[in-house]
Symmetry: C2
Subunit: 223 residues, 2 copies
């Protein structure tokens, strides 16, 4: 919704963009792998022109990386990036929580409470719990109504997606997240912007530390 291309005019470049993005986020295209235009173009059944357009767009989102030598590669996964990403995400979600305080109507609050309630009911199921966590953040973003914050947040979310394989979903983590979500919605309901901002910030920082802990224990991510 905050996307620069409001309605994806069904052009070949857009299709290719979506397909490439999917392959990158799912790690189907392996980190460090180089993209050769002619081969990729034939693989995707288009000419180099729309493919290049898609590649350039992905580079601008750092989902591909232009190398100094001239080649284009899928960015490698590294631990520093995760920390930076979560920090920026914390700042953005904190801001959106703050702005949601100013804008939330009673209907909005009901929506938020409903999401948390469903989250609570399904907290024992990892994937469901995560889905409602995402839904809550999306709802807050919508209520906040800051298109730039939303847009940057979406870019951050795409980046984090690549590391999803490494994030765990331990039950105690889900309980903690649920508690934070309750606190957050309460703060928004009471129009306490400072508190909402702080709760959102600390919540994401907590997720960051947990993710870093898990990743360093597996030792799978390089650099």
């Amino acid at each position: 919704m905050a996307d620069p291309q409001p309605q994806p005019r069904n052009t070949g470049a857009h299709v290719v963009y979506g397909e490439l993005k999917r392959q990158i986020l799912s790690l189907e295209l392996k980190p460090g792998e180089r993209i050769y235009e002619p081969a990729m173009a034939t693989a995707l059944q288009v000419s180099r022109t729309p493919l290049r357009e898609a590649i350039r767009r992905l580079i601008s989102e750092s989902l591909l990386e232009q190398q100094a030598t001239g080649g284009v590669i899928v960015p490698v996964l590294d631990q520093t990036a995760i920390s930076e990403l979560y920090d920026v995400r914390a700042a953005l979600e904190s801001l959106m929580a703050r702005e949601a305080c100013a804008n939330a109507t009673e209907a909005d609050l009901e929506e938020l409470r409903g999401i948390v309630a469903r989250n609570a009911a399904l907290v024992e199921f990892a994937d469901e719990a995560m889905k409602y966590g995402v839904a809550l953040h999306a709802a807050i973003a919508r209520i906040a109504g800051n298109s730039w914050a939303q847009r940057f947040h979406e870019q951050i979310a795409s980046q984090v997606e690549r590391y999803r394989y490494f994030t765990n979903n331990a039950p105690e983590r889900r309980d903690e997240a649920l508690a934070n979500h309750r606190l957050l919605v309460d703060a928004i309901a009471s129009k306490d912007a400072e508190k909402a901002a702080k709760v959102a910030f600390d919540h994401v920082i907590g997720a960051r530390d947990e993710t870093l802990r898990v990743i360093s224990s597996t030792g799978l991510v390089i650099e």
Copy 2:
């Protein structure tokens, strides 16, 4: 430095990108104006291919706008956007101030103090004062070392640049900014992350409100 294209390999598309960006930020290309590829290509002495590459990149930075009908226009100036931009900027600068607290060496602090001192000495000259304000933020961004925050901050700065014509530089505003800068550097020096974050946030919010006040009084920006 946080740019997706590390070294601008001297390709035509990059030159065109820089030139178009310059024209957009300086309002040489007027807000609302449509870009026709063939005409612009001949004007810039390149073919449509590198021009399109530059246009797409500018669209991804919201310095150009793809319309639903298919045309590309220079985005119009609107007051809501300013408010959103400053809010996100506040969140990002707040984060960078926080992270600068954790990372700043004694040499870094000396650099910050030096910038503020020069700012103080030249506070009566509007353009110089602004230059040092920018330098301070740039130094803090470097010290914070969060490439994503830097990158988003640069995009925000580009956007705000288009509204520069409307921002005033009243002497009392400059004094206030200088005072805030002193507070900010002191907070960073004392490693008080929470305070630094709050000072940076409030500082930018203050600038936002002042800018909005000036713009609404001139009544020049539309929509």
